[in-house]
């Protein structure tokens, strides 16, 4: 079974990612599924009837606003990084966490490499499907690059200047 970094641990990935979904008259695969956002929005009945759990994945250009009001019902939301240099997913992650109240598993998929993990984690990602040709154990180290940060973000909602102030008081 493929592996996943989740909550700083390496675990089995028990979701199957569907890049495209079988036609309506074909059966869905068994088990837990990650399905494309637009398809999920259009065919919720079909997924409600599915025996496994269903999460959605967004491509880098897809807007988290489409999930407003519904994000909280999902167990997993995955965001695709078609290339690691495409940084839209960082904003998407923060919005899902900070604006749309998503508390479930937020997973980075696609071109996910060690050197992006620290930033991703700050933007609310807690799960990482590391690119298949890379060592997942090595990638785990990427979460520990820094022990201090300046800005407010999902992992640390107080910017350093406020924490500094609290320390000083």
């Amino acid at each position: 079974m493929p592996k996943l970094i989740k909550n700083q641990d390496i675990i089995d990935d028990n979701y199957q990612l569907l890049e495209t979904v079988p036609a309506a008259d074909q059966p869905l695969p068994e088990g837990n599924l990650l399905v494309p956002l637009t398809d999920w929005l259009e065919n919720q009945q079909r997924y409600n009837n599915h025996s496994g759990k269903v999460g959605v994945w967004l491509d880098s250009h897809e807007e988290p606003e489409l999930l407003a009001g519904q994000a909280q019902s999902l167990p997993v939301i995955a965001i695709n990084f078609p290339q690691f240099t495409d940084g839209r997913g960082y904003s998407t992650g923060r919005l899902l966490r900070e604006r749309f109240g998503f508390l479930g598993e937020l997973r980075a998929i696609g071109d996910v490499l060690r050197d992006q993990l620290f930033y991703m984690a700050r933007c609310g990602f807690n799960a990482f499907a590391i690119r298949a040709d890379r060592c997942i154990h090595d990638a785990l180290n990427g979460l520990k690059d820094f022990s201090e940060t300046y800005q407010a973000a999902v992992d640390q909602p107080q910017p350093l200047f406020r924490r500094r102030q609290m320390q000083a008081e």
Binding site: R88, F146, Y150
Partner: protein
């Protein structure tokens, strides 16, 4: 100056460890070229024509004498004994070894310096007026805000992989010395009717292939909202900026495509949702950072020094230098001195290790141990007693800093061009030198007066050629180097972009072309007019006619 506390130091130290490790993985073949590229760029490391090039940040241009000495030591130990001051308040090393870059960063960290985000598609070093804090025409010192922006932008997790590079400039004086209007975000510090401090926010300026002057998207942003508003602008850009074409990826293209109104609306809608969050600045934080830029221990001095008046009367050369390279200071009895890094025959902005050390000593002796770097590639000692100007000038002569040409034709802004840069279409340093050689008569230069001449080796415009009163751009014609000449650009608060004169010129002809432009100016000017003013009054036609007139 801002002094790191344990948090700042930890972050910079951990960066050194991170980059050392990334470099090792790259050298071991565990990171592909394409993967290492954005990582090294975010650490200012280019692979250039001859060797890697390392760009070191000088946040908003402030540098201490200790830092200057460290830059000198690094130049000696790891490079060929000199550094290059760039137009973005950075310095560049042209010959470091990739393997040694982590060691260089470790050395920099010992003096609170780094190369973080000096390149790459992230928020770059924030720049400001080199006279910040000492200029008489200033509303408030912009440096604390620059430092606040520096911290906010350092490893900002959401904006490390933007569509393209992102540059912010802050100016607080009446005269804009920071080319604010040609930055991705320009901030003018202002006071509103009730005396509150805030920012006029300008977005979408920039040079390069599509040069544009920025547009105002907010007349007044209260200071406490600075960071949340920047977050909102950057978030809109990160989400909607183009990523399919790197030449159309800058925020200026997004602003243009959406129109200022729609773009502004998107920013305001986003900001509404985040404006009162934890990122809202506290007065305590503004005060804490401001305290680092507190007034040095100035002596109480009379407004004018009799001794200086005598020296100016006695020594015409000193007087010349004083007129050109010394500016008024807001504190009585003090002056601002600019060291010219543009003597004839030296690449504009190049300084040797020895010179850096000399500048450090002079800063210690005469200017509270601090200096600044200007985007015109010069070095400033900002707090010099008027009585010290004469000895400082004599020392500056010794070290090659006293060319009395600040703001004049030979104070050329010039990119590294074909001598160093892999992207160049043509050389630019030899053009600067040829012009400096041709116009070496100081009386003539003074007569011509204020004139910005800027040279870039390609349309990326690192040498700001679009905003030079005269701009020169290297172009490639069938493998040969030619130079296109523009007139009418300006970088100040009345910024304008230069217009192309006509067909480009061969290298040998450039000084003569400049000479002809000056002839037109001299014959047409009114007594008070600068070159740019005359151009704006009479237009391009007389210049064009003179330059392209057939020889009789």
């Amino acid at each position: 100056m801002y002094i790191y506390d344990q948090y700042d130091q930890t972050i910079v130290d951990e960066r050194v460890i991170q980059f050392r490790e990334q470099t090792q993985r790259y050298l071991a073949g565990e990171l592909a070229d394409a993967e290492f590229l954005p990582l090294r760029l975010q650490n200012g490391l280019y692979i250039q024509r001859f060797a890697p090039m390392l760009r070191v940040a000088i946040p908003y241009g402030m540098v201490s004498s200790n830092q200057l000495r460290k830059l000198a030591e690094i130049a000696r130990k790891y490079d060929k004994g000199y550094v290059h001051f760039s137009t973005r308040q950075n310095v560049q090393y042209n010959w470091p070894q990739l393997e040694q870059v982590p060691d260089i960063l470790a050395e920099l960290a010992t003096v609170q310096m780094h190369a973080i985000q000096t390149s790459g598609n992230c928020i770059r070093n924030t720049t400001t007026d080199q006279f910040a804090g000492v200029a008489a025409d200033e509303i408030v010192d912009p440096r604390p805000y620059c430092e606040i922006i520096r911290q906010w932008s350092t490893f900002h997790p959401e904006f490390a992989f933007l569509p393209r590079k992102f540059k912010i400039a802050v100016n607080a004086a009446k005269k804009d010395r920071a080319a604010t209007l040609v930055h991705d975000i320009g901030l003018y510090l202002v006071k509103n009717k009730t005396g509150e401090i805030g920012f006029k926010v300008i977005v979408g300026g920039g040079l390069g292939r599509t040069p544009l002057i920025g547009t105002v998207i907010r007349e007044f942003l209260p200071e406490k909202h600075l960071l949340s508003y920047l977050d909102a602008v950057l978030r809109v850009y990160n989400r909607y900026g183009r990523r399919d074409n790197k030449y159309k990826a800058r925020i200026k293209i997004l602003v243009k495509a959406l129109g200022t109104e729609l773009f502004t609306q998107k920013v305001e809608v986003e900001w509404e949702q985040i404006k009162d969050g934890a990122t809202t600045l506290t007065q305590e934080e503004i005060n804490r950072v401001t305290d680092h830029f507190s007034v040095p221990a100035y002596e109480a001095l009379p407004a004018t020094s009799d001794q200086l008046a005598q020296q100016l009367a006695d020594d015409p050369n000193f007087n010349h230098w004083y007129q050109q390279n010394v500016n008024a200071h807001k504190v009585s009895g003090y002056s601002i001195v600019t060291f010219s890094l543009k003597p004839t025959g030296v690449a504009p902005g190049d300084v040797t290790d020895k010179q850096l050390e000399a500048a450090a000593d002079l800063a210690d002796q005469y200017s509270f141990g601090e200096a600044r770097v200007s985007h015109q590639q010069n070095l400033v000692l900002a707090d010099v007693k008027q009585d010290d100007l004469y000895p400082l000038w004599q020392a500056a002569i010794q070290h090659g800093f006293a060319t009395p040409n600040i703001g004049l034709l030979t104070d050329i802004i010039c990119c590294p061009g074909g001598d160093f840069c892999a992207l160049a279409n043509a050389k630019s340093i030899p053009i600067a030198e040829a012009i400096q050689n041709r116009f070496d008569d100081l009386d003539y230069l003074h007569d011509i007066g204020e004139l910005d001449l800027n040279i870039s080796g390609c349309m990326n415009a690192c040498g700001h050629h679009h905003v030079g009163h005269i701009g020169i751009l290297g172009v490639d014609k069938k493998g040969e180097e030619f130079y296109q000449v523009q007139v009418g650009g300006n970088a100040g608060s009345d910024a304008s972009l230069g217009k192309i004169l006509g067909p480009s010129f061969a290298k040998e002809d450039v000084p003569e072309v400049i000479s002809k432009l000056l002839t037109v100016y001299v014959s047409q000017r009114t007594p008070e007019e600068r070159f740019i003013d005359t151009y704006r009054r009479i237009g391009i036609k007389p210049f064009k006619e003179q330059v392209y007139a057939k020889a009789h």
